[in-house]
Each structure stands twice: as C-alpha cells, then as structure tokens.
C-alpha cells in the first residue's frame, strides 16, 4: 500500500512538471491564477508548520521554543541550515531544563 502511495505521489508530481515543459508552452496570462500560485508555497508551508510543529517534540513548550528561535533567526535573514539548527538547539536546551 505504501508503494501505491509513493507511485501516486511521483506520478502526479512528474506530470505537473512534465506537461508544461513539453505540451503547453504558453505563458499564464490570468493575473488571478498567477497570484494564487505565487502564494501557494507560503500558505502550504505555513499550514504544515502550524500547529504541527507544536506536537513534533516531547513537549509543546520545547516545540514553542524551537519555533520562536526559528522565527527570530529567519526574520534576521539567516539561511535555511542556520535556522533549522537554531530551532533544534532551542528544543534540545528547553528539554534539558524541562525534562
């Protein structure tokens, strides 16, 4: 069953990439559709992070510490790996104090 899931994932994702690269090669003129697609990465990443992140660790409090650390570093324009490492470190330290 898991292989069936992976097959569906791979097929849908590949078709999304391959069809516009081979068959349709027209620019999307509709401003509303272009705007919608512009916002999709931000909204889907946020929807996956909140509230999911608060249940990813051994305590919602340590997870909140990780989320705050990530947000603080990200607002300061730090790179992907720095932000992720900062979030992990904050969780680790918070759990040291809590647990």
């Amino acid at each position: 069953m898991i292989y069936l899931y992976i097959l569906v994932m791979a097929a849908v994702t590949y078709l999304i990439r391959a069809v516009p690269l081979t068959v349709f090669q027209k620019k999307i003129e509709n401003r509303y559709i272009r705007s919608f697609l512009y916002y999709v990465p931000y909204t889907c990443l946020t929807a996956m992070t909140v509230p999911g992140i608060f249940y990813a660790t051994r305590s919602p409090v340590s997870a909140a510490a990780g989320a705050l650390a990530a947000a603080g570093l990200a607002f300061r324009g730090k790179g992907l790996v720095t932000v992720a490492a900062g979030a992990c470190a904050a969780v680790f330290v918070a759990e040291r104090i809590l647990i």
Binding site: M9, K27, S35, L37, Y39, T46, M48, L80, V91, F92
Partner: protein, 237 residues
C-alpha cells in the same frame, strides 16, 4: 552530449546538493518516525524531488488517507512547479528534444529552476543534466542517512531534530513575510485556518492532508483576490 556544459552544470548543482543533503536528512528521520522503511523513504525522495510535497505526502500516509486525497494534496502543493516548468521551457535551447525535455522535467525543483533561469543564456540538455545530477543524489542519500541515523540517536536528540524541517519551512516563509504584507497576510490566514481545523471539535474529522489542501487553497485564493501580484514576485501591498 557536451562535456564542458555538463561540467558547468555539475559545478552549479554542487551547492544545491549540499543544501538538499541536510534538508533530506531531517526528512529521513521523519520517514522512519512515521513507520516507513529506509528503502521506502529513499524511493519517495528519488521519485519525487520535492520537500513540501513529500512532507505532506508522508502526513497522508501516516494518517492512512485515501489515494485520491494523496493525489489532490500533491497536485495543489506542487502546482507551482507547472509555472516553473512553463518558464523553464522558454529558456531551453531549440536543440533540446522532446525526450530530453521529459528528462529535464523530472527534477525541476525550486532551487534548480532558480539557478537555471539565472544563468541568462539558452540552456542545453548537457547543462541541465549536470545541474540536476548532484542534487538528485544529495536529496536521496540524505534521506537514507537521516533514516539510518535516527535509529541510533538518543531520544533527546531525536526530539530536537524533529523540528529541523519545520525550521526550514519557517526560514522560507519568514523573510518574505517580513518584506511583503501580502505574504504575511497569506501565511497568517493559512495558519489560522489550519489551527481552526485542528482545534475546533466539529472539524476534527478532517484529515491532515485535507486540512493542508483547504488551508492552502483558501488562504492563497484570499491573498490573490486582495493582493494580486503584478509581475513575478511583486505585490501591490
């Protein structure tokens, strides 16, 4: 096959591969935490080449969602690649054949797309192949390493590393939310809808995959309506 173009691609792809290795390492940890095998995780990474899509897909698998739900989740989250492929197709050299396009499509990720279109000259098949090779290897092997390491890690470290991928999601959204009120609005609305579905008892029957779809579609539609984008990346806010 042009060796010089291929080597140029390899060089441009190396930094992307290094970044992918660390991101997929944390994905590998989640794969094992979700009850999948190392091989299944590696297969997923090799055949999908997308962080957000795979993360959402993993949620659907863990929740035991339907295949239709899986297909719709992937379609919505990965739809932006259609836009990138459209844009990339305009930058390819006329010599690139239909079959070669089918190969290039496979790993047209956000980062590879950004580097490719930033190159400024018409793109050859050799260059694209070189550009994609190392990132594909990095993404897949990182997943394997993360999954293999997660069994050996003490629980305290495992718990801390669980937030790594979320941290990277925050790292993508936060700087743009700071620059643009429209992105901030879109992200805040997505978070509010996602929380509402999670916490309001009457909505608790909605699965996590469907919750991601609903939040993404509703918040993006509202933001597109209120703050239409003028050109690539530019908003009126």
């Amino acid at each position: 096959m042009n060796k010089q173009e291929f080597r140029c691609g390899l060089k441009d792809g190396a930094p992307i591969a290094a970044g992918y290795l660390s991101v997929s390492f944390s994905f590998g940890i989640m794969v094992l935490g979700g009850g999948l095998s190392i091989f299944q995780g590696a297969l997923m990474s090799l055949t999908n080449m997308t962080s957000a899509g795979q993360f959402a897909g993993l949620q659907v698998i863990i929740a035991g969602g339907t295949l239709l739900e899986m297909a719709v989740t992937q379609f919505i989250i990965n739809l932006r690649y259609a836009l990138m492929s459209l844009s990339l197709s305009q930058k390819l050299s006329d010599a690139v054949t239909f079959r070669e396009r089918l190969v290039i499509a496979f790993a047209n990720t956000d980062e590879i797309f950004a580097v490719a279109v930033g190159r400024g000259k018409s793109l050859t098949f050799s260059y694209m192949l070189g550009l994609q090779l190392l990132p594909v290897l990095g993404w897949t092997s990182g997943t394997v390493l993360g999954a293999a390491a997660s069994g050996l890690m003490p629980p305290a470290l495992g718990s801390a590393l669980n937030v790594a991928l979320y941290g990277m999601f925050i790292a993508v959204v936060a700087p743009n939310a700071r620059k643009s009120r429209a992105v901030l609005f879109a992200a805040a609305l997505a978070a509010a809808i996602s929380c509402m579905i999670y916490y309001v008892p009457a909505l608790s029957g909605i699965s996590s995959g469907t919750a991601i779809i609903l939040s993404t579609v509703a918040a993006s539609a509202a933001a597109a309506f209120l703050f239409p984008v003028r050109e690539e990346g530019e908003t009126e806010a």
